[in-house]
Symmetry: C2
Subunit: 120 residues, 2 copies
DNA sequence: TTGATAGTGAACCATATGGTTCACTGTAAG
DNA sequence: CTTACAGTGAACCATATGGTTCACTATCAA
């Protein structure tokens, strides 16, 4: 997928704001209008609309306007790729440091052997 | 922890750039100097230094300068909080839609019952 | 019809981001 | 000593971000 990296860019960026993470948590509880969200996070309608736009572009939220109110709900993307990326990083991180540990252990063993041979 | 949200902010922001994710992957393979990284990602030393700075401030990378070369390696933070946040969101997402499914199922059942009673 | 309500879009503002160039320092090596 | 190399910091640039106000449209309700 060519868009994989771009998608990670926009989703991680969407998650990098405390208000937007809050909106996601709120929507996990129940759907909400722009007005609801704006009140809960103490900002103007316009400001909240922008945040919702960011979340929507990232696929994390979908909205539908009926009458004058636009209802926001959790979107189709479930942060699968993001979770996978992070998990993979954690694996590599562990592997890297396990390898380092082994080297250290190895060095210790050799040191001991060296000390023994010198004592002889 | 007061800094929890701020930390999530800066780490997700650090992850929202394809170059920085690339640097993390590279460092998972082996340590590297600024020059190494700058070459691999085709940008100036100054540019790469900035990226490394962002990763360092997020705790994802540590660096040490010996002689003229600054060596970068994976840092102490293992994206634990980020992984946890994402996992929790995925849980809530599922719960939310399982609940919706139940409602839909419930509606279907009632509809059938209604149809049966009307037929009588 | 009139008024309040919900959202929208443009314009604006301050600050941050991702990148560069240029001038500089410190270190290594001939 | 001289030159080359690795990094650093300041200044600059274009664009993005997070927020606002203001003017406007569309809808609901009395």
């Amino acid at each position: 997928m060519v868009h994989y990296q771009a998608r990670l860019d926009t989703t991680f960026a969407a998650l990098s704001d405390v208000t937007r993470r809050g909106v996601l948590e709120q929507l996990a509880g129940s759907d909400a209008s722009i007005t609801d969200l704006a009140q809960r996070f103490r900002m103007t309608l316009t400001g909240m609309k922008k945040h919702v736009g960011v979340l929507e572009r990232a696929g994390l939220v979908t909205t539908e306007k009926v009458g004058r109110v636009r209802t926001c709900k959790l979107g189709p993307r479930r942060l699968e790729e993001e979770a996978a990326w992070i998990e993979r990083h954690r694996q590599l991180w562990s592997a890297r440091f396990d390898a380092l540990d082994e080297i250290v252990e190895d060095l210790k063993r050799k040191e001991k052997a060296n000390a023994r041979s010198k004592r002889r």
